[in-house]
Amino acid sequence: MPSKKVLWIVLAATLILSMVLTACTTPTTTVPTEVVTEAPTEAPVVEKQQVEVFSWWTGGGEAAGLDAMIKIFAAQNPDIEFLNAAVAGGAGTNARAVLATRLQAGDPPDSWQAHAGQEIIGTYVKADQIEPLNFLYEEKGWLEVMPETLIPLISENGNIYSVPVNIHRANVLWYNPAVLAANNIDPTTLTSMEAWIAALDTLKAAGVIPLALGEQWTQMHLMETVLLSTLGAEKYNGLWSGTTDWASPEVTTALGNFAKLLEYVNSDYSTLTWQDASQLVVSGDAAFNVMGDWAEGYFKELKVEPKTGFGWMPVPGTQGTFQFLSDSFTLAKGAPNRDAAIAWLSICGSKEGQDAFNPVKGSIPARTDGDVTLYDEYLQSAMVDWSKDIVVGSLAHGVVANDSWKTEINNALGIFVADKAVEGFQTALVAACKSSGPCK
């Protein structure tokens, strides 16, 4: 029966097809590998090494900065091919899902971008996916050129897990100098929550939006700066290490301050992006906005002059502290090209690499020895603060709390912003620290 044979062939083909389909579901970037396996047959003399670097830098100053670093890398490592595995999406929301799939499938890129701190430690270190980099820090002398208070925030049990490329500051209060002048408010006097709230009252009475606010993550951003301002650096750090009690009266005061600030915000906050909210300040509709210093890059895009079109200062009560966040690169455990990955990380931590990336991206180098002449007025002032201030980490941007903890805080925050019940919020925060943080 020849037809039976045909049937078997069709059946086998079907099975193969279904396997191919299965293989297609993992969104990996395997295409470049194929190119290389073919390469030796054409040019058998030089076997080119590769390094695959995963990031979410696909557009604007970020992508341009990455390209600048890649150029330096290529010049110093001519025999390593750089594979740029970038996945688009703001703050890496899509990229992280793709990366998780790759790691779960045992197919890590050699090095990937992640927010320095607990976002790395709580997720990738806990899953045993990355190597400590102390040897590289010692070899390159990075411990001497990076702030002393930074290192514990990006380490776990004495192991440093990533190389920070850039530094952004979270606790910046942006203001409209003309609006403040019109209401006789001198920004230099705003050094405490109380003074700030008094100024907000004046502005509210004058009919301007006192404080511009945006969608939910910007609310978390505001909250973390209020926690820092009310508690001070040491107790703020204690929240994340477990030494400051989330149920304590100081935290109640801080949350009360946060609730108070929410009385001064624009009513349509939930529909505004951070850009929309920041723009309210330069357009004169609002007086203040708390946002990370990427807002300065946005103001430059809007062609507003620093000092006259917008001013900046630390969030009242946080003078002398630098609440940071950082994009950093890791070394994958079992990296397919470990040596090449280390060569990449060496560029990431070098003065040359950081000074190439940061002026384009609009951030400051993690090293304190960057070339100030390359940076604009705001960034220069941030570099000064970075080298002398106490460094603390940001919650909204992954430094101080792991992803699970942050998600639980985010849920509690969302409910709080809607119902304004401080007590319920604090109870939920205590529970979140127990369930995903260090609290017992």
Partner: protein, 295 residues
Amino acid sequence: MHNRRDKWLSFLLVSPSIIAVAIFVYGFIGWTIRVSLSGWKGLMPDYTFVGLKNYATLLNDPRFQIDIRNTLIFTAVFLVGAVLLGLALAIMLDQGLKGEAFFRGIFLFPMAISYIVTGVVWRWLMNPAMGSRLSGFNLLFKSLGLDFLVNTWHTTPYWGIAFLAIPAIWQLSGYTMAMYLAGLRAIPDQLREAARVDGASEWQIMRYIILPLLTPVTLSAVIIIGHMSLKVFDLIVAVAGKQLPLDVPAIYMWQATFDGNFYGLGAAIGVFLLISVAILIIPYIRFTLRSEENS
């Protein structure tokens, strides 16, 4: 002999899709259920069996309670709105108006647009900004002197989610219209004429003849709109972003899984969604299959 071969061949021809469906639909449903019964929290898979713990967590989770409430409100407004508007449009077009084909096209057209596009446009239209920054519908209302209509749209506390059903109704009422129109055209004219001969008013014809005959169409519309509504994700994200007062289970599933690494919890939300859609759809499929067998 020939018959048997045909049977074999037809089976073979559909086997690729059977295999694909078996793997990608039923295989993954089974796998999701397994994850939902596990304590997987963190990046790496952990299939430790924890029973229904994730489901219990969900039931006590204030965010999930908001999700269920929002889904119910959204579905109710969306269903009633799309069905009534679709029916009204269909009845209007069925009156033999001039340019019927033109209007049919216009009403059906929004369906061709993706939810994301609809969402972005309606995000502008339903802008809740007040004062000097008034825009979208609010600005239109104000310039027409209809100040009382100026409102906060989806930022309205508690009922905000109902406003998000407006773009959904806009998008899908044309679809229900097409369904109803087909239903109306299938009703033989003799029935209406017989009723008229018996002295029935136009309203009585509508109430006692047309609407009962449209019941199967309504059922189909409710099922199709209802299951889309339960799964809604993209429209909400496009109009309102990921904010908790307007949260729905699909958004929570995404955030729990990929932002928070709560894979077990995320899978439980997925299973919950599957069950809620199944409750709606399975009786309908059985009903359709049975009526097909009968005819």
